[in-house]
Every structure is written in C-alpha cells, then in structure tokens.
C-alpha cells in the first residue's frame, strides 16, 4: 500500500498561494501571477504522480480493481463515538482522475491569465481567488466525509461568487454573482437535508461507511432506511433525491440553471475554469461518489437520468439561438453536463452494466479539456475583438490562425467526430443509454445533432462568415500573447490525445468493465454529428438568408427559445409577485411592527413608568412632608400593632 500523503501538498500549495497573494500580493502584482502558476504547476505535477502511482504502479497486469484508500484523516468534530466530521483525503479512481483534471485545467487557466489579465489593476487579487477556488475544488474531490465535501462545496460557491463578481463595478456582474450564489445556496438546502437524512439512517458521515452500510441488503440499517417512508417514497430515496437536487444546483440542471449564463460576466479564464471544467461538474462528481448507494434506488437514478436528458435537450435548443459567444458556450456546458448526468442515470453497477458510469466520468474528463479549450479560444477572440457578440465577428481565420485551428479541433471533439476524444466518451454514454432506455437514447442522439449544429454555427460565424464589413479595429497586439497561445495548444493536444486513454479500465463503478465495441451505435452517433455539421455549414459558412427565413418561419418558438424559454421571467414572477407579496412583506411587517414594536413598547413603557415615578421627586417641600408624614404614621401603626 503506497503512501499517498503527499496529496496533502496538492491541497496546501494552492491554499498557501491564496494566503500569500491575498495578503501581500498588492506589493508584487506581476509576481503573484508567476507564484500562482508555479504553485499550480507543482500541484499538477504531484497529481500526475499520484495518478501514475495509483493507476499504473498500483496494479500492473489485468484484473485489478483500484481500491479506495484513505491517505490522510483527521477527526475534526466528534458528535458521538460513531458520528464525527473528519477532514481527510480519499484516494479513489474518480478522485485521482478529478485531481488530474482540476489541476491541469487550473494550470492552463493560470498560464492563460498571465496574458489575458495583464494590465488588470487587481491582478494579485484575481490570482488569489483562483488559488482559493483551486484549493476548494481539490478539497471537494478528495473528501472522505460528506460534511467535508459540503464545507468545500460552499467554499467553491464562495470562490465562484468572488470570481464572477470580479469586475464589481459593473452592476450586471454583481447581479450575476449574487444570482449564482443564491441559486446554488438554495439548492444546497436540499443537499443539506439529504445529508442529514442519509447520515441519520446510516449513522455515519463517512463516505466509505455510508456506502458499505447502504450496500448491505441484509443489515437492519438498510431495511430501516428503505422502509421508513414519507409520502410514498422511502427515506433513502428522499435523501438521494435531495442530495441530487444540491448537485443539480451546482451543475446547472433544469430548473436551477438560470445562474450559469449570467455567470459569464466574469473574466473568460474564470468561465473556462469554473463554469466549464470544474465547478459545474461537482454535482456529477457528487452523484458519482455516492453512486453505489444510488444504484440501490432505481427511482433516484431515473430522476437523475430524466433531469439530465431534459437539461441537455433544453440547453441545446436555446444555444441554437443565442448570439453572445460565451452564452452559447454556457448553454453548451449545461447540455454536456446533462449528458454526464444521464450517463450516470442509465448506468448499472456490476460489470458491463456500469458502462454509463465510466462513460460519464470519461466524458467529464474529455469535456473539461475541450470545453476549457473552447472558452480560452473564445477569450482570445474577445481579447482581439473587444466584444462578445457574434455579430461583431466574422472571417477571423486569417487573422487568428492558431486559434482557428484549435477551436476547430474542439468543435469537432464536442460534436463527437473520431478520432478526437469527444467521440469516445459520447459514444460510451449513448451506448449505455441505448441498452437501458430507448427514449433517452433517442433524445440524446437528437441533442448530439443539435450540439454539432450550434457549435459549428458558432465556429463559422466567428471564423468564416464575412457577412458584415470589418467594423472592428485591430489593436496593436497580434493574435494573442504567448501565454494564451501556450495554454490553448496544450489543451488542444489534450483534446486529441485524451480519447486514447483506456479509461474504462481505470474508472469503473465497481469492478472491471468489459467493454464491447458495437459498431452500430457508434455510426449513429457520428452520423448525428455529421448531419449537424452539414446543416451548419449550409447556413453559416457563407452568408446566406436561410437562417433568418427559418427563424422567422418558426416565429414564436424561435422567439421563446431566444428568450431562454422565459425561465428567468418565471422565477422573477414567482419571487416578486408571490414570495415577496405573500411572505416577505407580511414577514417584514411582523418584524417591524410586532417584534420591533414589542421591544419599543417595552422601552416606551419603562420610560413612561419612570417619568411617572420621577414626579415623586418634585422639589416641593410640601410633597416631601406629606410623604414623610404618611410614612411616620405607617411606622407608628406598624410599631403599635405588629411589634
């Protein structure tokens, strides 16, 4: 058993960088960028080493399962002899994979930001927030204890708030940061309720213990959890569904997705790191971590699957109509995370049934790479054009050749074209869906087609379509600084190469996975992608009037898709008209008049009583004499009768 306690440094280094750059960064602004990048480089190196040790050294040869090892554990709060909150590091196939993903993407974003955020006044603050986020996310993925994960979950939310609201002088950025935090916090309510129910029934907060106890069908704990029911669903089902709701908030599943498009107000590297590759997959990671328990409750898995596929489809439709680059990419992210969710939802547990699980994890890995690449490329374009709108762009392929090539690679990957990595992961998920639920498979296939369509629409409108005159000015800088190019190229290479990692050997639900490669579903997936690409090419390669004709013929449907199906308006309506009027305003009234009023009443009463009493000391001798006389008579009576 190897000693993995060096993983502690993977967590400590970003935390130390956060503290140093946060406290002292103002004095050495540009050095803080180098410090952050260096720290993340070391952390990435340690993660790669850990992955190497775990996956390769840990087991040479076939037929090995990778156990989950506790590398480090510290009891923090002991509630009772059996219940405690520990802080620890769990080394497990998915946590090692996530370590690699998070540190790699974070490293790329650190490098990229050296160029992108150059000249920014709060440069060191930016890097300290980035390090805080990295620390929180890393802590989340190695959590041994569900409460530890919750603590880091909230920390991630805070970092996201800080980073989205980085340009705090823009009111839209502030509003977006608040929205992100509030929506995810609201979802965390469900998460907390789920944690409490789950830990109550399994009498432990530790992941390994919970999984062990909930898998054991004969044990009284499991039957207890399954029989105790509320409104027809067992307690275990409720716990898992509530935990999923928390994950859905963080992963921007419908209907808690409203914060993700607005969170694009943050700087683009932040969007690449947080809202594409790492934070938004935290929900998927949560379900994956508790997957053994989820697999015991089919209702919960179905819930996960349907929410996932609906979000995927919903987001894909909206993405077809948006004109802001980052909004398109945000909805694309939501759609791909929907894929990961329903990949988990259609998965079984044993043997080849677990294809959905490892496919989902594989898609998480590859999606991180190519979505980060897409965002960073979009950032390069925005850096060049100084605008986010697709209407301002067109025909950039000559001016930005490297970005063009990398962006094309990423778009091909997301459309699922072999031999890029996206093909392998998407094909795995769709195959799993085919074996499990035909409806989900059909919708998934349709979504794949839409994905290819809107991604290539984006690509063509940025780099090819020259329907507008060149209204943008070229700054005196070239395509992009070296740091931005470096990170884009690295991610491009990762996108190409990641498909060839034998993922299904490494990351499985339970034991080794026997993957049979079926040709038919693979061809169906590729065909869907090619159809989408073809339609996009027809509409957008050269300027044409087809898009406008189609959008006007679709009329209302197009309009509502463009307006994101009015979900935001619905939320605003519910909060403003219903919650504010029915609950907040009476509550505020009660608080002001009754609670405050009773306190004020207390003080006013005291004041009045004291004013009445102070009249006794009137300064008039005659009054004093009367009191004296009355007291004397009273004393006389007392002495005579009561002595």
């Amino acid at each position: 058993m190897q000693n993995y306690s060096y993983i502690l440094f993977v967590l400590i280094i970003p935390l130390a960088v956060f503290l140093i750059t946060g406290l002292f960064g103002k004095r050495f602004q540009s050095f803080s960028g180098i410090l952050g990048t260096a720290g993340m480089l070391v952390a990435a190196g340690l993660s790669y080493y850990a992955a190497y040790e775990y996956f390769i050294v840990g087991c040479r040869g076939a037929d090995c399962t990778w156990p989950s090892i506790i590398a480090f554990k510290q009891t923090w709060l002991q509630f009772s002899p059996s219940l405690s909150i520990d802080m620890g590091i769990m080394v497990d196939s998915i946590s090692v994979m996530m370590l690699v993903v998070v540190t790699t993407v974070s490293l790329m974003v650190h490098i990229y930001s050296i160029g992108y955020m150059q000249g920014e006044e709060r440069y060191s603050t930016y890097y300290s927030f980035l390090s805080l986020f990295s620390f929180s996310m890393l802590g989340l993925v190695v959590a041994t204890n569900i409460f530890q994960m919750y603590i880091f979950w909230e920390l991630v939310g805070v970092s996201s708030f800080l980073l989205v609201g980085f340009y705090f002088t823009k009111p839209s950025a502030v509003a977006a940061a608040k929205k992100a935090f509030i929506v995810t916090r609201f979802a965390d309510l469900g998460f907390l309720a789920g944690i409490l129910i789950l830990s109550y029934y399994s009498e432990s907060l530790d992941f390994q213990t919970i999984i062990h106890r909930m898998m054991d069908h004969g044990a009284p704990i499991f039957t207890n959890a399954n029989t105790a029911s509320f409104m027809g669903l067992s307690a275990l089902t409720w716990a898992l569904c509530l935990i999923f709701i928390g994950g859905a908030g963080k992963s921007a599943m419908f209907p808690l997705h409203i914060w993700l498009p607005d969170a694009m107000e943050g700087p683009t590297p932040v969007s690449a790191l947080i809202h594409a590759a790492t934070m938004v997959v935290a929900g998927v990671f949560l379900v994956a971590r508790l997957f053994p328990v989820y697999s015991q409750v089919p209702i919960a898995l179905d819930f996960v699957a349907y929410v996932g596929i609906f979000s995927a489809f919903f987001a894909a439709i909206i993405a077809c109509t948006q004109t802001d680059i980052k909004r398109v990419l945000a909805y694309s992210t939501m759609s791909q995370i929907g894929y990961m969710m329903f990949g988990l939802g259609v998965s079984g547990f044993w043997g080849s049934d677990g294809l959905g699980f490892s496919g989902s994890m594989f898609h998480l890995f590859t999606h991180a790479m190519f979505k980060a690449l897409l965002f960073l490329g979009a950032g390069a374009v925005i850096h060049y054009i100084h605008s986010n709108e697709m209407g301002d762009m067109g025909g950039l392929r000559k001016k930005m050749p490297l970005t063009n090539a990398m962006f094309l690679i990423a778009c091909l990957a997301i459309s699922g074209i072999p031999p890029l990595s996206g093909f392998f992961s998407k094909e795995a998920i769709l195959t799993a869906a085919l074996h499990h639920n035909k409806l989900i498979y059909a919708v998934g296939l349709l979504t794949a087609c839409l994905t290819a369509f809107y991604m290539f629409r984006l690509y063509f409108m940025i780099f090819w379509n020259k329907s507008h005159p060149e209204i943008y000015h070229e700054g005196n800088h070239g395509e992009a600084p070296l740091s931005m190019k470096t990170s884009i190229v690295f991610l491009g290479l990762a996108t190409i190469g990641a498909g060839f990692i034998p993922f299904h050997d490494y990351v499985t639900a339970y034991d080794t996975l026997i993957v049979e490669f079926h040709l038919a579903p693979a061809i169906a997936a590729v065909a869907a992608g090619l159809i989408g690409i073809g339609v996009a090419t027809a509409f957008y390669l050269k300027s044409s009037t087809m898009p406008i004709k189609i959008s006007s013929s679709l009329g209302n449907i197009y309009q509502s898709a463009y307006k994101k199906f009015y979900v935001d308006e619905l939320y605003l309506f519910v909060t403003k008209k219903i919650i504010f009027n029915l609950i907040s305003i009476p509550a505020a009234w009660i608080d002001k008049n009754i609670v405050d009023g009773s306190m004020n009443l207390l003080s006013t009463a005291t004041q009045n009583v004291s004013e009445g009493i102070k009249e006794v000391q009137s300064g008039k001798i005659a009054d004093y004499v009367m009191w004296f006389f009355a007291g004397a008579i009273l004393l006389l009576l007392l002495v005579v009768f009561a002595w």
């Binding site: 005659a622 009367m626 006389f629 008579i633 006389l636 005579v640």
Partner: protein, 171 residues
C-alpha cells in the same frame, strides 16, 4: 364645676381656637397675630400649672422674640399685602384626614395606657432651685446640656449672619 377647672377649659379652648385660626386663615399678618395669642395662652396654661418660670421664659422668648422675628421677616419679604393662595384640595383632604386619623389613634393609645402613680413627694420648683440645678454638675444637674445649648446658640447666631449676609455682588 370648679372655678379652676373652668379657667382650664377657657385657656385650652383659646389655645385650640387660636391654633386652628393660625393654620387656616388666608391673611398672613392675622396668622402671625393668632400665633401670638396662641403662645400667650400656652403661657397662661403654664401659669395655671404653677410653673411660673417656664411661663415667663415662654413669654419672653417666644412671644417677645420669635413672633417679633416672624413679623419682621414678613415685612422684610413684602408679604403683608395680599392673600395667601390656598393649596390644592387633594392636599387639604389628605392632610385633614391623616391628621385626624393620627390624632385619634395617638389619643386612644394615651387613653388606654395606665400611667404609674407618683409615690414621692413633690419638690418646690423655685427659680433658685432651677438656677442651681442648671449649673450643677452632680446628680440631677444640667450643666452639660446648658453648655451645649450655649454653643448651639452661638453657632446659630453666626450662621444667621453668614446666611443672610448681603455680599457686594448681590444687588
């Protein structure tokens, strides 16, 4: 009724009537005069009880000193003209009731109490006896209170002058 008892009833009724008039009249000068008469009648009571020395002291000090002092102060503070304002009726009622109640209660106590009889023979209280006892530092002497009261009188005299002294600053 004996003639001496008649005199006693006359003197006491005059005391009480003039006393009541003192405290109830609205004109301040008349109040002072009624006080004067009350004090003279008290002195008459002392004469009736055969305590001539005390009666004399009463007339000299009280009537001839204090009442004159009061009259002087009335003139000094320009109070002689005009009526006294009457106090609020709540105070009147309360004072009347409480005084009546207290008087009734105290007098009932007195009536119920059995006072011990005196077995010894009375002494003859002449002025020489009083004078001798005043400066007697032996048994039954009162030289200490005498000296203390002298000092008190001195202090009172100095105090009065100091309090009522008109400094150059006061207008």
């Amino acid at each position: 009724m004996e003639i001496s008892a008649f005199f006693f009833y006359l003197i006491s009724s005059m005391i009480l009537v003039f006393g009541i008039l003192t405290v109830t009249t609205r004109k301040i000068f008349r109040s002072a005069i009624y006080l004067l008469f009350t004090l003279i009648n008290v002195a008459a009571l002392y004469f009736y009880l055969n305590y001539e020395f005390i009666a004399a002291v009463q007339i000299v000090v009280y009537v001839g000193g204090i009442v004159v002092l009061i009259l002087f102060s009335l003139f000094l503070t320009h109070q002689v003209a005009g009526d006294l304002p009457s106090p609020p009726w709540q105070r009147l009622v309360f004072a009347l009731l409480s005084c009546l109640f207290a008087f009734g209660f105290a007098f009932c106590l007195v009536m119920k109490h059995s006072f011990p009889e005196n077995k010894n023979a009375p002494i003859n209280l002449t002025v020489s006896y009083i004078g001798k006892q005043m400066l007697n530092y032996g048994d039954g002497g009162f030289v200490l209170p005498f000296e203390v009261v002298s000092i008190l009188l001195l202090a009172a005299m100095i105090g009065c002058i100091a309090i009522a002294f008109k400094t150059k600053k006061n207008a």
